[in-house]
């Protein structure tokens, strides 16, 4: 009984390590075959459309709502200490440092990441990938790498849009609806948010998230068993794995970036 459980556990661990190695090799291959994505940039543009443009609506709407909630909650909390004027700084800092990169990446994973996995998985299941290989065309270069770079380019842009919409939402609730002084809202924000320290670091975060989410989504699609269940399972795994990875990486990056405070 115990031996059996141990064997099962050992099997799982060996499998996980194996998959990690395979995933790393896959990631290296993406980078190795990335030349085409830039030489024939229209391939990447196509994917920018399906990952970036198609995620625009959800990012803009979600960003606005998150900013509005931040405005409301932040105001209620700050009011107790008589520092409502710091609302702008609170909203903007939360957004550019944490919520923008993290929430945009989570939304991106479930909107674009899952779609990428399903698409690649289905291409594999319907032998489109094998067909490409038989035509002497490398699917890593032609199919996978352009999607990867599109995701990596989209993510920081989407995160910037999310944060900007969030600030706008916070402004609407804080200044327009509640009546916090407009001047102090913006000036406190500018005084509180540092370009290098907050905005650039936030962008670095979302770049890293973009790499992680897209790589996971593509790997899961490429590795999916070529059946209906295989593809649907892989899609679920993409969302779960990339969400956990985003939160974990966020912790690591935050610890590195903002430890000096």
């Amino acid at each position: 009984m115990i031996v059996e459980n141990l064997r099962f556990l050992g099997h799982r661990i060996v499998n996980a390590v194996w998959r990690m190695g395979y995933a790393s090799r896959f990631f290296m291959l993406i980078l190795f075959y990335s030349g085409t994505s830039f030489r024939r940039f229209h391939l990447t543009i196509r994917e920018l459309f399906s990952s970036g443009v198609m995620s625009l609506i959800i990012i803009l709407v979600a960003g606005t709502f998150v900013g509005m909630v931040l405005g409301l909650q932040g105001y209620e909390t700050l009011k107790r200490y008589g520092s409502e004027s710091a609302l702008g700084s609170l909203v903007a800092l939360s957004l550019v440092r944490e919520l923008g990169p993290v929430l945009a990446a989570l939304l991106f994973a479930s909107r674009a990441g899952s779609a990428m996995t399903a698409e690649i998985g289905l291409m594999k299941a319907t032998e489109q990938i094998s067909a490409m290989e038989m035509m002497a065309i490398n699917p890593m270069a032609r199919v996978v790498a352009p999607r990867f770079w599109a995701g990596v380019i989209s993510m920081p842009l989407l995160s910037a849009l999310f944060s900007a919409m969030g600030v706008f939402g916070g402004y609407v609730v804080g200044v327009v609806l509640i009546g916090v002084d407009e001047g102090s809202f913006w000036s406190q924000m500018q005084a509180g948010v540092d370009f290098q320290h907050d905005i650039v670091n936030g962008m670095i975060k979302s770049f890293v998230f973009g790499v992680a989410v897209t790589a996971i989504a593509l790997f899961e699609g490429y590795d999916a068993p070529p059946t209906a269940e295989g593809v649907s399972g892989a899609t679920t795994r993409t969302v779960v794995e990339s969400s956990l990875t985003i939160l974990f990486l966020d912790f690591i990056l935050t610890a590195f970036m903002f430890q000096g405070e």
Partner: protein, 269 residues
Amino acid sequence: MSSQALVEIRDVNFAYDSRPILKGVNLTFPKGKVIAVMGGSGCGKTTLLQLIGGALKPSGGYVKVDGQVIHELDHKGLYHMRRRMGMLFQFGALFTDMSVYDNVAFQMREHTDLPEEIIRDLVLMKLHAVGLRGTHHLMPAELSGGMARRVALARTVALDPMLVMYDEPFAGLDPISLTVVGNLIRRLNDALGATSVVVTHDVQESLKIVDYIYFIADGVVVAEGTPAEISTSDKPFVHQFVHGEMDGPVPFHYPGGDYGQDLNLRPGR
């Protein structure tokens, strides 16, 4: 004859993990001919095509195409060889995110520097050859099964390959589409001066269009011959296959241990 052979398959062995699929098969495909490879489902026909295309490596023997041993080619050499091959996959494998036009144009755009006007003419010519010029703006999802197969056919021969492989081109087609596709395979082969391999279990259709037939069972070639020889053969296997009989050398049951034991029937109960 061997001087004119485009494909030579010699003593090829292949196993998935430890399950042997092919146990020393020998086939020769002369230039310009249409050859059928037949056998029951799961006998290794697709596997054989993948060995020719270099997607799999034999564990013994070799596959020679145009004088070159496939599994000894490096990545570049293999890709170079594949450019001169066309493969029609079992279900067409059209790129679902591209229009019919883009599907046929795909290899021309990837492998040549032809200007778009010439590609346009070539694509329309290929589509015309399969009778589907009018569908060039449609997406694969908008085609019927038979039409999709013909578009896939046009895409397969887009770069005028010297060797065309068809994996079950008749599967799932209605009788009319089936005859259409069969005739296309023959006509395209002769028009291109190519060599074609048709993997199928549709005996009647293949007998009409091919020059030579191989039968594979249990990992070896069990019979071969011209359509005339095959249709009059009295070999039990061929006879069963050609006439679609249920009983014969090809067993109805997959090997599965003792039936009584599986049902928990023990003697003495």
